[in-house]
């Protein structure tokens, strides 16, 4: 188990109070909190070596460029990319997926082609493909889930054929917490010649990820869910694919030469980074990677597994508690539930009064909620700085909220 007390001391916000109660932050699946190491790296960048990156011939610009590009190396090594050119900085997971949908998708998907998704996808790994399919006359097909939140892998054979040009799936559901058999999915998709995009928004911050071992063609993730700042995300793409793809956003920095009527493109990865990038956010992400690697992703994943196992035991013991998704052994640090018929908004509101921050709603997975027969759920998500005590605080606050609303068991 990680030394949670020591970790919590790294996160200034975790010592604050909300409504007079110590904050219990259980919404890291939406966005995580930031350690001092990240805050200080960003402040240092602004205070000491800030200037626009690339092409500057003065010291400040060279230093800023160096820090920004160093962050790319850190990210490349974090997910074990073969070369740094495979790491494109974007705003977030959503933008990374859109980059692929527009650039790769518009030049590789045609009428009658199929895109295979799963029923547990976040809107960000669903709507870009809907738009692409509508535009190109392609078809979306879905790998269904079981009632307890596993992918129905035995349905893959009938769904995967040569018509499938792209398979896009999440590494970990942001609602069910299910960790998907990513490697098997990649292998099965490649066997029919499909390209594979993995949505790592939940996976990369919480699990060890090695893109070479996984074998995926694209991996999208966000900085802000992994202790880094908002405004910076990553698209990993296999070099051959990125090389062959046309630009997505265009303008400054992504060009080699511009004439009045034509332009040529910069090398990877800058071909996909138009305009002034999120310089300091990139540096912050580099610091976040260092911070997480200080513990090791194996240790973080193990800690979350233990915490979520305890939380699920504790919550399941409450009468009227219905947790969605698989058993703790098959999931990351996410627990979404319904409780005694109380609307998630009411519940989240009353939990907030106890200092407990959870998320209420469909968590950007409306089709999944429809499949589960629910409109909305309440979701608690755990990260390296959460302790089992906080699961107790959550359970106590739930009981108190139910009493306040006259919904005693």
């Amino acid at each position: 188990m990680l030394k949670v007390d020591r970790i919590r001391a790294d996160f200034p916000i975790l010592s604050r109070q909300v409504h007079g109660k110590p904050l219990v932050f259980l919404d890291s699946a939406a966005s995580s909190q930031k350690p001092l190491a990240v805050l200080e790296a960003m402040e240092r960048a602004y205070r000491e070596c800030y200037a626009n990156v690339h092409r500057g011939v003065y010291t400040l610009s060279e230093e800023a460029t160096c820090s920004y590009e160093e962050a790319r190396d850190k990210v490349a090594s974090f997910i074990n990319a073969r070369v740094r050119e495979e790491i494109v900085f974007t705003r977030n997971t959503t933008e990374s997926i859109n980059l692929v949908a527009y650039s790769w998708g518009r030049s590789n998907i045609g009428p009658g082609d199929r895109i295979l998704l799963t029923e547990m996808e976040h809107h960000s790994n669903l709507v870009p493909w809907q738009l692409l399919a509508q535009e190109k006359g392609a078809e979306l097909v879905y790998l269904p889930i079981t009632d307890d939140g596993f992918l129905q892998m035995d349905r893959l054979d009938e769904l995967l054929d040569e018509r499938v040009r792209l398979v896009a799936f999440t590494m970990m559901s942001n609602v069910l917490g299910t960790i998907t058999p990513a490697k098997e999915l990649v292998e099965r998709a490649h066997a029919v010649g499909a390209v594979v995009l993995v949505d790592g928004a939940q996976g990369v911050p919480h699990l060890p990820v090695d893109v070479q071992e996984l074998g995926c063609d694209f991996l999208a993730f966000s900085g802000h869910k992994m202790c880094g700042p908002s405004g910076i995300g990553v698209l990993y793409g296999r070099e051959e694919l990125l090389e062959a793809m046309p630009p997505f956003l265009s303008g400054g920095d992504m060009i080699r030469r511009v004439e009045f009527h034509r332009a040529t493109w910069n090398d990877l990865p800058w071909k996909f980074e138009a305009g002034t990038p999120a310089i300091v956010e990139g540096i912050g992400l580099g610091a976040a990677v260092d911070y997480l690697e200080g513990f090791g992703m194996e240790a973080i994943a193990a800690h979350e597994r233990e915490t979520v196992t305890y939380a699920m035991e504790r919550l399941s013991a409450l009468p009227g508690m219905q947790i969605v998704g698989p058993p703790a052994r098959a999931r990351g640090g996410v627990v979404a539930f319904s409780f005694r018929g109380i609307h998630p908004h009411d519940l989240a509101h009353l939990l907030d009064l106890e200092g407990v921050a959870v998320r209420a709603g469909h968590h950007c997975a409306q089709p999944l909620h429809a499949r589960l027969g629910l409109t909305a759920t309440t979701r608690a998500s755990f990260y390296l700085y959460n302790s089992p005590d906080e699961a107790d605080r959550l359970a106590e606050a739930l009981e108190k909220a139910a009493r306040a609303l006259g919904k005693e068991a």
Partner: protein, 124 residues
Amino acid sequence: MEDLYREHILDHYAHPRNWGRLENPDIVADADDPSCGDQVHIEIALDSTGRVEQVAFEGEGCMISMASTSLFTEYIKGRSLEELAALTEEEVLTLLDAPVGPSRRRCALTPLVALRAGLQRLKG
């Protein structure tokens, strides 16, 4: 217990006033928020002078949206179409008689959103 979940709000949620449907409504008003699943259906019958004679609603949603709609149906009885059209957000928020923070404002305003859609349909 926090101010927002006051006794009268819990009471309106547990015992909504004017629950149900009307025989011949003049105005049918719906609000539907797919993001939180709140759904409200309000039916209004006018008297010969064009004032609200009967009102009924059905719906599903959080305590704040349901209690607010229940209070709202009480509030609009006897009002003319012009008065309905002139209802403001602040007026509706006042009905709850409790502090509605920014995150719950949308819940509380559900009946007004429905009514405005219903009035629009009447005009159209």
